[in-house]
C-alpha cells in the first residue's frame, strides 16, 4: 500500500506547520510567564 502524493504532502505539510508554530508558541509562553513572574 503506497502512500499517495497528496497524503505524503499533507503529512510533511502538517509536520512543518507545527514545527514553524513551535518557536512562536514557546516565545509567547515565555512572555506570559515573564509577565506573571513565573519564569522560574
Amino acid at each position: 500500500m503506497i502512500i499517495s502524493t497528496t497524503a505524503f504532502a499533507w503529512l510533511i505539510g502538517i509536520a512543518l506547520v507545527l514545527t514553524i508554530a513551535t518557536p512562536i508558541i514557546l516565545l509567547a509562553l515565555l512572555l506570559r510567564d515573564w509577565r506573571k513572574e513565573e519564569l522560574w
Partner: protein
C-alpha cells in the same frame, strides 16, 4: 542513540567549524555563569528552585528529548525504513505524553523529593531500589558515553576537526556551564537550543521543498525505491512499537525526567509534558523527510547516517552545513547537560547521602553535586577517548533494562496494592528476558519483551499478595531541615 560511522564527508572548513564551536561554547558558558550566580542553595542548584514555569519547562523537555539522533538518525531511518521510519521515530513523543500524569503525581506525592531513586526506595524498599539504581546508572553512563562519542564523531564528520578535539570540546563545555549554573543553566540554555534546533530544521525543510518540490520527491522515490513509501513494511511496523516502548522506558525511569517533575512549579508538570509531546512529534518528520530527496537530487550516500547533512549541504551549500552543525551542537548540548545534572544528583542523593554520608547537610550535598558533575565529565571523557564501539553499542540493549522499569514505576505511583516482589522480579526477569530476545531475535524486540515480562511479574505478584501502601510515606524530611531536627551533636 546511534553512533554514526566515520566517513570522509567533511563538508565544512575546520576553521569555520572551530569558529562556530567557539562562539556557541562562549555563549553557553557565559549564560551558565549568569543564571547560576545565585544558585548557592541545594534546591536552587539541582532543581532550579522548584519553580520552573510552563515555557521553560516545555522547552527543556523538548530540547532534551531532541538528541543528536533526532537530527541525524531520523533522516537515516527515513532512508532505510521510509514513511514508517519517520513516523516511528516521532512516536518517541508517546513517552512524553504518558509521563505527563506521572509528573503531576510525582510533584504532588513527593514535593520535597530529589530523584527517581528516592521514589523506588520509599515505595518498594532497599532491594528494589538497588536493582533500580544499577539499571538507571548503567543507562545514564551508556547515554553519556554515546553522546560524548557522537559529539566527537559528528563534529569530525561535519568539519574534519579530529575526534578527540570535538569530543573534548562538547564534554568540557557542557560540564563547564552545568557546573557553573546547575539545573537553571541547563533549563535556560535548553530554551535557546530548542529554538536553534527548530529554526535549522525548518529552514532546511522549506528550502528542500522549494528547490525540489514534494511531488518530485514523491515521484523519484516511487520510481527508485518504492518500498520506502509502502505503508505495510513489516520491519518498520515492528520498529515502530519497539521504539515506542523503548522511549516510554527511558522516560519513566530516568532521573532526567523525574528531576524536571520535581523542578517544575506546582501545576506545570502535566501541561509541560503534554505540550512538549505535541511539539516534539513533528520534528523527526521535518528533520527526516529530506532524506527522501536523495533520489531526486541524484545523491550517492556512502553512509546512511550522514544523509541529513549531505542533503542539507547539497541544497544549501556551506549555509546548509553550518545550519546542521549548529543544530547538532545544540541537540548534543541540550541532552548532555541534562544527563550530567540529573545523574549527578542521582549519585549524590542515592549513593553519597543514602549510602556513604547519611547525615550530609544541604550545603555538603550542593558541594558534592558540583564535584560529581566534574567527575562524570572526566569519566565520560576517559570512556570515550579510545572510541569503544562495544561500549557505545551497550546502549542499544539498554532497551531491555529500561523497558522492564515501566511497570514497577507506573504501578508504584498509582496502584496502592503493587508490591515489592513484583517490582524486583519485574525488573530482574524483564531485563533478562529482554536481553535474551535481543540476542536470540533482534534489537527490535528487546524493549517489547522486557516490558511484557515485567508487566506479567508486577500484575501476578500484586494479585497473589497485594500490598497496602500508604502514599503519604513518600514524603521525607528535606536535607535543609535535617539540622534543625538533629539533637546537639546527634544524627537525624
Amino acid at each position: 542513540m546511534g553512533i554514526v560511522n566515520t566517513v570522509n564527508t567533511a563538508i565544512l572548513d575546520p576553521m569555520l567549524g572551530w569558529l562556530i564551536l567557539a562562539g556557541f561554547s562562549a555563549l553557553w558558558v557565559a549564560l551558565g555563569w549568569y543564571w547560576g550566580r545565585d544558585s548557592e542553595q541545594l534546591d536552587d542548584y539541582v532543581l532550579a528552585g522548584r519553580r520552573v514555569g510552563l515555557a521553560l519547562g516545555t522547552a527543556t523537555v523538548m530540547a532534551t528529548w531532541v538528541t543528536s539522533n533526532t537530527t541525524m538518525a531520523a533522516p537515516q531511518l527515513a532512508l532505510q525504513m521510509g514513511i514508517w521510519g519517520m513516523i516511528g521515530y516521532s512516536l518517541g513523543s508517546v513517552g512524553l505524553f504518558m509521563f505527563a500524569p506521572l509528573a503531576r503525581r510525582i510533584r504532588r506525592l513527593m514535593p520535597g523529593g530529589y530523584t527517581s531513586g528516592d521514589f523506588v526506595r520509599l515505595r518498594y524498599g532497599n532491594v528494589a531500589w538497588r536493582v533500580f539504581l544499577l539499571i538507571s546508572l548503567f543507562y545514564s553512563l551508556g547515554w553519556l558515553v554515546s553522546m560524548g562519542m557522537a559529539g566527537g564523531i559528528l563534529i569530525h564528520a561535519l568539519t574534519g576537526i579530529p575526534y578527540h578535539y570535538g569530543m573534548t570540546v562538547i564534554l568540557s563545555i557542557c560540564v563547564g556551564y552545568t557546573l557553573l549554573g546547575g539545573l537553571r543553566a541547563v533549563i535556560g540554555t535548553d530554551f535557546i537550543q530548542a529554538l536553534l534546533i527548530l529554526a535549522g530544521a525548518v529552514i532546511i525543510a522549506i528550502l528542500a521543498i522549494s528547490e525540489i518540490g514534494l511531488e518530485t520527491i514523491h515521484a523519484s522515490v516511487l520510481e527508485e525505491r518504492p518500498e520506502l513509501l509502502n505503508l505495510l513494511m513489516p520491519a518498520s511496523i515492528m520498529f515502530l512499537f519497539n521504539n515506542l516502548l523503548f522511549g516510554v522506558g527511558e522516560i519513566f525511569h530516568s532521573n532526567v525526567w523525574w528531576s524536571r517533575a520535581f523542578a517544575f512549579r506546582e501545576g506545570v508538570g502535566f501541561k509541560a509534558y503534554v505540550l512538549a509531546g505535541i511539539l516534539w512529534a513533528p520534528i523527526p518528520i521535518v528533520a527526516g523527510f529530506i532524506a527522501l530527496a536523495t533520489p531526486a537530487l541524484g545523491l550517492n550516500v556512502p553512509a546512511a547516517d550522514m544523509v541529513g547533512p549531505m542533503v542539507a549541504a547539497k541544497i544549501l551549500g556551506t549555509t546548509g552545513a553550518v545550519l546542521v552543525l549548529i543544530m547538532v551542537f545544540a541537540a548534543l548540548s541540550s541532552s548532555l547537560d541534562s544527563l550530567l545534572a540529573a545523574t549527578s544528583i542521582l549519585i549524590v542523593e542515592d549513593i553519597y547521602r543514602r549510602h556513604l554520608k547519611p547525615g550530609a547537610s544541604a550545603a555538603e550535598m550542593r558541594a558534592a553535586t558540583a564535584r560529581i558533575i566534574l567527575g562524570l565529565g572526566i569519566l565520560t571523557w576517559i570512556l570515550c577517548a579510545p572510541r569503544p564501539t562495544t561500549l557505545a553499542e551497550l546502549l542499544y540493549f539498554t532497551g531491555a533494562f529500561v523497558a522492564s522499569t515501566i511497570w514497577p514505576i507506573a504501578a508504584g505511583l498509582f496502584w496502592r496494592r503493587a508490591n515489592t516482589a513484583g517490582a524486583v522480579t519485574g525488573m530482574i526477569l524483564g531485563s533478562a528476558a529482554g536481553l535474551y530476545s535481543y540476542f536470540a531475535v533482534g534489537f527490535y524486540v528487546a524493549a517489547l519483551v522486557g516490558a511484557a515480562v515485567s508487566m506479567t511479574c508486577v500484575i501476578a505478584a500484586t494479585l497473589l499478595k497485594p500490598a497496602q501502601f500508604n502514599f503519604a510515606d513518600l514524603q521525607e524530611v528535606h536535607p535543609a531541615e535535617l539540622k534543625s531536627l538533629r539533637g546537639p551533636g546527634g544524627s537525624a
